[in-house]
């Protein structure tokens, strides 16, 4: 079947790349630093993504193209339901952020560089999404890393920005090396165990997703566990999971629009997408899925504690991103019990999160833009001055806190903010079902406690910024229409997207992987998963308290925040002072800076490894050479009467000797010819 979208699918990536080149080359001469070029390009990418989505939904067939690259590798495009919803989200949210940036970056002289780099950032992320093989995925993934480095360090004249960019690149690089090792080991296994079975076929590429998924059964399960854990290592780096999350809170050194891009549309979701993309491999390695679940659940909780004590508005949001990504990983990990349904839940939360987190960051940007500070303690009472920002941020906060109405379902759809709909699904249909079957309540506890803390820090932020007395001299003002318009669109999505798309989304993304195949792979991993009906049955029989709990903690957190930060019935200072050891540990971010930067990077890598290599090099390796040379010169001094003893003379003599030899030989050859 010939169809149009297959032939133009490459434009989804190619257009933003073209925009990158054009903006870089001509941006200085164009209005708004050439910012309209990436907007146009990404809008077109978005339209093609919509066309691809419609085609896949209609035909039920993925879009596939592949051609030879070099050696044993190929390049190609693979768009299945999973990739297509991701493409829609990335291109749409990135488009909105670009429109917002026209207003936000209006006064920055380096606009052309900004827009060029964000265009490349978007292109790289789109490239990750539609890669048809794991190496191409990795290549695009690395370009995402490069762009984050460039954009976080965008104001590189600020030492903190330069340091944050480097930290982001290096921390994610740790994960990337693990990921690359996973690819190398996967290649080894494909060659050893799979190639002999399929070598008759033409055009087989061992790293293509299709080839890998069809032959998972041939790879030994220990190797599969190793490979998936290494892949997950990459995801831990990119998606800011414990312990490689340390770069993300510092990543706010870039412009706020960059933070919005990193936290919502690009970069951090790549890690979750990696696990979802290679889910068939994970399902056959249930041990790895358990690691995913525990790391994710722990991260969700761990990061939310730090969200409670940060005073920088963007840092609070950064920790909330880490925490929400933890939820997505937790959801994927639950796949060990609920199978491919987990991918649907994780992706649904990923996309809802993209809307409300983009909204929150852009609202924060709007606030920073008008107040000129990041510090929540200096804000307050902004609501009267910035109504649109205040209301849109409130909506997004309700979504982040997961506020909704329990038990009420219309047409099988829960009623609540998008964050409620997706987070609820993860907690109830994921962790609860897991607990029900395995009697292990730890993931459930992670999910519920983190939900409570999330609601508290979210509304702490909102109440501190928008209510109470103004705490500064400035005169805040509402932002221009390009900014508030975008905020309104995102806030609307944050409120209703979850409800409107709940069932169709899970249905559509559920078709990414063949359920029987997934079942078969789970059995291969000596694991049993339940199907859709059993899942519904277990959820249907659950005690009402299970449904109530996520909402209760959400609303409870909101009220607690209201009591502390709006009514101020409880003094903040009585808890949040440095004499309180728990507060001190959390506020120092669990001494991560001391451990990662000072201990591992500076003391060990530089202080021990690098300096000792340098010492050995100068004193021992080169010392021996100089010693030999001194010995020869010394010995020559003794026999000076026979020899001149000057090393230079020996060198000259040698050169002369070689030249003379050449001459003699040439002469000999000439005489022979004669």
């Amino acid at each position: 079947m010939v169809n149009d979208v297959t032939n133009i699918a490459y434009l989804i990536v190619a257009l933003p790349v073209l925009a990158f080149v054009l903006t870089l080359a001509f941006g200085k001469k164009l209005p708004s630093g050439g910012g309209y070029i990436p907007i146009l390009a990404i809008a077109l990418s978005c339209i093609i993504s919509i066309m691809a989505f419609l085609q896949i939904r209609e035909t039920g067939m993925p879009i596939e193209i592949s051609s030879h690259w070099f050696a044993v590798l190929n390049v190609g495009i693979f768009i299945d339901p999973l990739a297509s919803v991701m493409l829609l989200m990335v291109s749409f949210v990135s488009l909105l952020i670009h429109i917002y940036a026209i207003g936000y970056m209006a006064h920055d002289p380096a606009k052309p560089r900004y827009f060029a780099e964000t265009a490349l950032f978007t292109a790289a992320m789109l490239g990750v999404v539609l890669a048809d093989n794991i190496l191409q995925f990795f290549v695009a993934w690395e370009i995402v890393g490069l762009c984050s480095y460039l954009l976080i360090g965008f104001w590189n004249h600020k030492p903190t920005a330069a340091a944050a960019g480097k930290k982001a690149f290096l921390t994610t690089r740790v994960g990337d090396v693990l990921f690359m090792a996973g690819i190398v080991i996967l290649f080894f296994n494909m060659r050893e165990h799979v190639l002999p079975h399929i070598s008759g076929q033409e055009e087989v590429y061992l790293l293509q997703f299709k080839t890998i998924f069809e032959n998972i059964a041939l790879i030994p399960s220990q190797q599969l566990t190793l490979i998936t854990l290494l892949f997950f290592g990459g995801a831990v780096g990119k998606s800011g999971q414990f312990p490689l999350h340390v770069w993300l809170p510092d990543a706010m050194e870039g412009p706020t629009t960059v933070s919005a891009l990193i936290h919502a549309a690009t970069m951090v979701t790549a890690g979750v997408y990696l696990v979802a993309r290679t889910f068939p491999m994970f399902i056959a390695a249930p041990d790895s899925l358990m690691v995913v679940a525990y790391v994710g659940g722990f991260t969700a909780l761990f990061a939310s504690t730090m969200g409670l004590v940060m005073n920088d508005i963007k840092r609070v949001l950064a920790f909330s991103t880490i925490s929400q990504l933890g939820y997505m990983m937790l959801a994927l990990g639950m796949g060990a019990v609920i199978g491919a349904e987990a991918v649907g839940f994780a992706m649904f939360h990923l996309i809802n999160h993209a809307f409300f987190k983009a909204c929150l960051f852009l609202c924060a940007g709007s606030v920073i833009h008008s107040t000129g500070t990041n510090d929540l303690r200096e804000m307050g009472g902004l609501f009267s001055k910035m109504k649109i920002t205040g209301i849109t941020m409130l909506f997004a906060s309700l979504a982040l806190a997961g506020i909704g109405i329990p038990f009420l379902k219309i047409l099988d759809t829960p009623i609540g903010t998008s964050g409620f709909v997706s987070k609820d699904a993860i907690i109830v249909e994921g962790t609860y079902v897991f607990a029900h079957l395995s009697h292990n309540w730890i993931p459930f506890a992670f999910g519920v406690i983190a939900a409570l803390l999330t609601a508290i820090y979210t509304f702490r932020l909102w109440f501190m910024a928008f209510t109470g007395k103004p705490r500064q001299e400035r005169h805040p003002h509402e932002s221009p229409f390009t900014m508030t318009g975008v905020l309104s669109v995102l806030a609307a999505f944050a409120m209703v997207f979850g409800m409107l798309t709940f069932l169709p989304f899970l249905e559509f993304v559920g078709h990414t992987y063949d359920h029987e195949e997934i079942h078969h792979l789970a059995v291969l991993g000596e694991n049993t998963i339940i199907d859709h009906h059993e899942l519904h049955h277990i959820v249907g029989e659950a005690s009402p308290i299970i449904f109530l709990l996520p909402v209760v903690v959400g609303v409870g957190g909101l009220l607690l925040s209201w009591v502390i930060y709006n009514r101020r019935w409880i003094s903040v200072a009585s808890i949040g002072n440095w004499k309180n050891p728990i507060f001190a540990v959390i506020a120092r971010r669990y001494y991560q800076h001391e451990i990662f930067i000072e201990l591992i990077a500076l003391k060990f890598t530089y202080g021990v490894l690098a300096l000792s290599a340098e010492f050995i090099d100068r004193r021992i390796v080169d010392g021996i050479i100089d010693g030999i040379s001194d010995f020869v010169v010394g010995a020559a001094d003794i026999v000076k009467k026979v020899q001149s003893g000057v090393v230079q003379n020996y060198a000259t003599a040698t050169v002369a000797g070689v030249a003379l030899l050449g001459l003699i030989l040439t002469f000999l050859s000439i005489t022979e010819v004669i």
Partner: protein, 492 residues
């Protein structure tokens, strides 16, 4: 009828050197030098486009063969195959770019350009010679111009560096020469023609084989250079003028790797019971160079010295890939030679611009240079990203092939090599952060950005790096063909 193209490529730079030497005005000298290095580039490009990479082991194209000393079996014998073709292209590309980069050289410019061109000719000769004796003559010929480049145009400690470079590599070459003579006398073919010697190698007794192998190996190890025989390199680089450093790291080091592929890998199959030990030695020194070079680079305070140690580390990948002895790893190692040649040239040129315009290369004395040197920062960033192995730049292709291939046959060494990757990114980014970013160090005063004759060659190199990162096939296919015909190498 014999082909003449290779001799043209080889002798045009020498003729150019002779002409340049006697033309005092630098404005004319540099034009002559450029013309005589661009013509070989065109001829090389033409040969490259006509090149047939499907030929088997030791089947040479564009070959020339003239008897030189028949009694000893020494011939003037040139030819290219898929091992050497891309390296000849690399040399042909780098030399004109280096000459353009040196356009502003004032001190005895005519001699400077003449020496660069002799260097170019010597490297061409090494890559083309099919006669071991001829190979050795060109191998030694490259020492002389570089010795003078360092000792005349070098930095404050130039005498020490020049003599150390000369004696160190020369002693290693003499050991190699012993190996060559041993090979010649233990086979009874009475020729220095490399293919014949390699075919006859199998007939030598085992201990002698090992001795010959190790003697020649030592010569190549020092040239590459492999830890612990590398200490001449940082000193030479620190003192050498930029053009000298570019060619030293860009093509001279590649002669060591080339020798490995041309002469030693075909011998491995015949090493009998010693094969495993030989491979272990190569893999060990390869990984040692990767890790040691990386950490030593991290400790450097001089930007140029850091780049020099990065070369040691990157050349370790060549050794590791060769040791793993399968098509993927060996072709990756060959590609690493090609790609490192392009990348390191950008790095040394960038550092050269800083040295020239800021008058210091000590990282702690720099800071915030992007503000005053936006063009240089842009290009330098490209070079640094390529050097740390960013995908879609040619360095990644090479490293990925080497690591993937090495894991097939030497998994432990491959995993050790992985450990260096994060630290490699670390020293590059740390140097950029301290030298280029942050607030501008006002003590440096008014600094000019790079001028066109500097950034044009650097820009061309960055574009080539990106081109071969996107589309490695034109070169990597040739190397794949080359490695698949080496006897005994594991096929994929």
């Amino acid at each position: 009828m014999q082909s003449i193209y290779l001799s043209l490529i080889l002798f045009l730079p020498l003729i150019g050197a002779a002409l340049t030497f006697f033309i005092k005005p630098r404005e004319i000298a540099r034009v002559v030098a450029l013309v005589f290095s661009v013509i070989p580039l065109f001829i090389t490009a033409m040969l490259f486009s006509r090149f047939n990479s499907d030929l088997g082991f030791l089947q040479f194209q564009f070959a020339e063969n003239y008897t030189w000393i028949s009694s000893l079996g020494i011939n003037y014998s040139l030819g290219v195959d898929s091992v050497s073709m891309p390296l000849i292209l690399l040399n042909a590309i780098l030399c004109p770019l280096t000459i353009i980069y040196s356009w502003g050289e004032h001190k005895d410019a005519n001699q400077y350009f003449a020496l660069l061109m002799i260097l170019q000719a010597g490297v061409f000769g090494v890559f083309m010679s099919l006669d071991f004796f001829l190979f050795y003559i060109f191998w030694e010929l490259t020492l002389i111009p570089l010795y003078f480049l360092i000792s005349i145009w070098g930095g404050p400690n130039k005498d020490y560096a020049a003599i150390k470079f000369f004696i160190y590599t020369h002693v290693a070459s003499l050991v190699m020469l012993l190996g060559i003579f041993a090979l010649y006398f233990s086979t009874n073919v009475n020729t220095f023609y490399i293919p014949d010697l390699l075919r006859a190698f199998a007939g030598i007794d085992d201990v002698m084989k090992v001795a010959i192998f190790l003697a020649i190996f030592f010569g190549f190890m020092v040239k590459m250079p492999t830890v612990p025989f590398h200490t001449w390199l940082p000193d030479a680089h620190v003192e050498a003028p930029t053009a000298g450093s570019v060619l030293l790291a860009g093509v001279l080091l590649k002669m060591g790797g080339y020798g490995l592929f041309r002469v030693l890998l075909p011998m491995i199959q015949d090493m009998g019971t010693y094969q495993g030990q030989i491979i272990t030695i190569m893999a060990f020194f390869g990984v040692l160079s990767i890790l040691y070079g990386t950490f030593a680079a991290l400790a450097q305070t001089d930007l140029k010295k850091m780049v020099a140690y990065s070369s040691v580390s990157h050349m370790g990948f060549v050794m590791l890939g060769a040791a793993a002895f399968n098509v993927i790893s060996v072709s990756g190692a060959m590609f690493q030679q090609f790609s490192h040649g392009l990348i390191t040239a950008v790095l040394f040129m960038s550092v050269g611009v800083i040295q020239h315009n800021v008058h210091t290369r000590i990282i702690s004395e720099l800071g915030g240079l992007t503000k005053k040197m936006p063009k240089l920062s842009f290009i330098m960033m490209g070079g640094f990203m390529a050097s740390l192995g960013l995908p879609l730049m040619c360095g990644f292709v090479a490293e990925f092939l080497v690591l993937t291939g090495s894991y097939l046959t030497l998994p432990v060494y491959a995993i050790l090599a992985f450990l260096g990757i994060v630290a490699t990114a670390g020293y590059h980014l740390w140097a950029l952060q301290r030298a280029m970013f942050g607030s501008f160090n006002e003590k440096l005063g008014d600094i000019k950005d790079t001028v066109s004759y500097e950034w044009i060659p650097m820009g061309i190199l960055v574009l080539l790096i990106i081109y071969f990162g996107f589309n490695p096939a034109p070169v990597s296919d040739i190397f794949q063909a080359a490695s698949s015909v080496i006897p005994g190498v594991m096929q994929i």
